[in-house]
Subunit: 209 residues, 2 copies
Amino acid sequence: MRDGRLQVLLWQRALAPFAAAFALPGGYLLSGETLEDSIRRHLAEKVDVRELSHIEQLVTTGDPVRHPDEWQVATAYLGLIPSDLDPELPGDTGWYPVDQLPETAFDHGAIILAGRERLRAKLSYANIGFALAPRSFSISQLRDLYAAALGHEVSATNLQRVLLRRELLEPTGERRASGPSGGRPAALFRFRSHSLEITDQFAVLRPPV
Amino acid sequence: MRDGRLQVLLWQRALAPFAAAFALPGGYLLSGETLEDSIRRHLAEKVDVRELSHIEQLVTTGDPVRHPDEWQVATAYLGLIPSDLDPELPGDTGWYPVDQLPETAFDHGAIILAGRERLRAKLSYANIGFALAPRSFSISQLRDLYAAALGHEVSATNLQRVLLRRELLEPTGERRASGPSGGRPAALFRFRSHSLEITDQFAVLRPPV
DNA sequence: CAGGTTTTCTACTTATAGTCGATAACCTAG
DNA sequence: CTAGGTTATCGACTATAAGTAGAAAACCTG
């Protein structure tokens, strides 16, 4: 989440194929290397990987048409960075809104959309919000974050009750100072756990009718 | 589902490594081959792949410790065969209960359990029952199938109502002749669709308290 | 202190799922 | 042909989760 929108880190290619198109960070596996190690190694060239709050395997494609010259098998991972961290980026990379992608290289456009779907699903049946939200936040902040990620309005009242019932959130006991235009100061919450936990319910926050 | 239990097709290895241990069917990718094509090709040596009612990618592991001699990257798929099909099997393969696995080769034991978890989850928020059940079935049959796959008791009344509400089932209009010990003949149902569809609900059939 | 703003709470409604007992529709034995 | 056993189905009730709306709380500024 950057700028109130779901954005993805892309890198503008210099060389063919797909010169000038935008690609996900990545690269080749070294012999004997774990997939996740390799992802982290390649990503480290772009951002500080200690900032990753969550990473999970997304999909593996071996479709021969995905690369024009070479036959490749590629495994994509979904990685998340909390909204309050703002990593230094090299000049050829930047954040791009997922719902307004530039022209992408290879099959990266489809992979990004698959990642968004995975994220949306896990917002509804897991505690994956911890990977997007800052360590401490108000319910209104969290509502805006969920709304942007899910792509539809979310009720703050309902969100708070659902996440508290599932025991995913706990109050920090602090309150945020109210803004310049006044208003009641918001109580702050945090996620109880910062590792992925699946709930036994699903229907968090369908779009309002 | 075979014999009222969730079973997996395994193949007893003849050669080292893991000689005599049981392994999932599979093999090496050919150059230029799609992952799914490769799976179907290797599987065809064991069973008629036209009997597969569903197939989906499960997980890719590149952990160097998974094979003692060689560095491998392997992608596992989950494939399902309806309970009323009984493929001819070569002598070195057979069905083995997932909750009572023999000694497995490589990391195949963990992969099988991951497959079971995927299946259980999709029974709860998708129509994946179509891939396990016969084309036409009574609610009691379906209850037994769900109970065996989920690992806990399931109420037939509730199952029928939930699946009908989600519009996943439809009555065929036929009834099965009652068994030798009598009883009311059961109405027959079928799945409306035989391709995977995600529902917007989740909590089908939690274990009874 | 009045009026505006944001947050939070409470009550109500709706949707979905879980449970239990009654009833229906068949069988076989006598 | 009927009594009693068996399996399937239905209906009513309960429990839980989620969606909505409006009132109240807690701050701000002028």
